[in-house]
Symmetry: C2
Subunit: 237 residues, 2 copies
């Protein structure tokens, strides 16, 4: 847990060549600012299952995810877990209303992150309204996702939850990798269950039913969306 590798002092990759720049918070910056920001960020690596930060831990850094997938979650004292989101390349990580994190973040597979000291980033963004607005934009987008997820958790059946998850996840993957019929699922069934407010058994049964009904085809580490229209109908209704 929590073994990070710093690959290169300050930041040996010029941000101008960053694969996720157009998706990330950095899209708001011009060349000169990017060059300056490059000195503040460092690349860090975490292995599969590693915890990048724990709930209640002090917030010292912001992160941009460069590669891999992460899960964000909150734990109740008795061990129940709610996954509040999955993180994809380009997503910004670490905004918090307090000086502590109020959720934990794990690497699902190996991940690469661009890490910024919170105070350095705050100093850098202080007089850059474009960057502030961009951070705002990302926070508001996340808020919108959270609101959609509340509807799913509070008012949808197991079948609708799973269908909605597949469609939403496919669309998010498409923004990063381009569209594809194959939907890669790097997270475990337990992760999906904890994201959807279900048990692992219910998730598994629903996948199996969708497979039998020809909506999807289950494959190791992914599913193939055989009938996207039907899946979308289940998700919308």
């Amino acid at each position: 847990m929590m073994t990070s590798l710093v690959t290169g002092e300050p930041n040996d990759h010029p941000c101008t060549e960053c694969a996720v720049r157009r998706l990330s918070v950095c899209a708001a910056l011009d060349k000169a600012d990017l060059r300056e920001l490059a000195h503040l960020g460092r690349h860090v690596h975490f292995g599969a299952g590693d915890t990048v930060f724990a709930q209640e831990e002090m917030t010292t850094s912001f992160y941009n995810l460069l590669d891999g997938v992460m899960r964000l979650y909150k734990l109740l004292p008795d061990g129940r877990r709610q996954i509040i989101g999955f993180v994809l390349p380009g997503d910004f990580l670490g905004l918090s209303a307090s000086i502590h994190h109020n959720f934990a973040a794990d690497a699902i597979g190996p991940v690469e992150l661009c890490q910024f000291s919170k105070s350095a980033f705050a100093r850098f963004s202080k007089d850059r309204p474009d960057l502030l607005r961009r951070v705002n934009e990302l926070a508001v987008r996340e808020l919108g996702q959270a609101q959609n997820h509340m509807v799913l958790l509070g008012r949808r059946s197991a079948e609708e939850k799973v269908a909605t998850f597949l469609i939403t996840w496919r669309d998010r993957l498409a923004r990063v990798n381009g569209p594809s019929q194959a939907v890669s699922l790097p997270m475990s069934r337990q992760d999906i269950a904890d994201y959807l407010g279900l048990t692992i058994e219910t998730v598994s049964r629903t996948f199996t039913r969708f497979d039998r009904d020809g909506v999807i085809e289950i494959m190791p580490g992914s599913v193939c969306l055989k009938d996207p229209a039907r899946a979308e109908a289940l998700a919308a209704a």
Copy 2:
């Protein structure tokens, strides 16, 4: 529905005397800026049950709630409703990731709002990093609330949901009105049910049980927290 009363051209109240300033987005502004902002905002009134804006409606304004309570909700095509939050005086309203609202907002009782044209507010905030940071702060706080609510919706029992709601609502009221054992509940049982992902019957039964067990005393339009410690224990576990 949607009949608003504009009380006074531009804004006849000086913002310096605004009762909710310390809670609102305006807390970030100095006297000169406040005076300028006063010209951009106008006070509007809505009656009990009025819809201030509907889901999918174009986003034209931001609002500060001055007085009263509102509900924010999303509807599914078949009529299922999820209330994603209640709004109290000082709360900022209208942030959206798109040009449309992605939820609807109703006045629960009569409400007073301070309305700003979105474009005018954007122009005003453009070169005021302090204000941008304050908007950010409020968005991040709301995001935190949404994340907490996801845990509640996904992983808590009916009893825990109701207890958590009472404690959280009491604490929010306390920030506006100061602490009190009486917890005013201006929203209907149906509203509470749609906020907690339950049915009205389950909410009612849980209230009744808490009353019988001496945790609360049910009163018209409010409850009295007889045993806050026990309620907090139910909410925490």
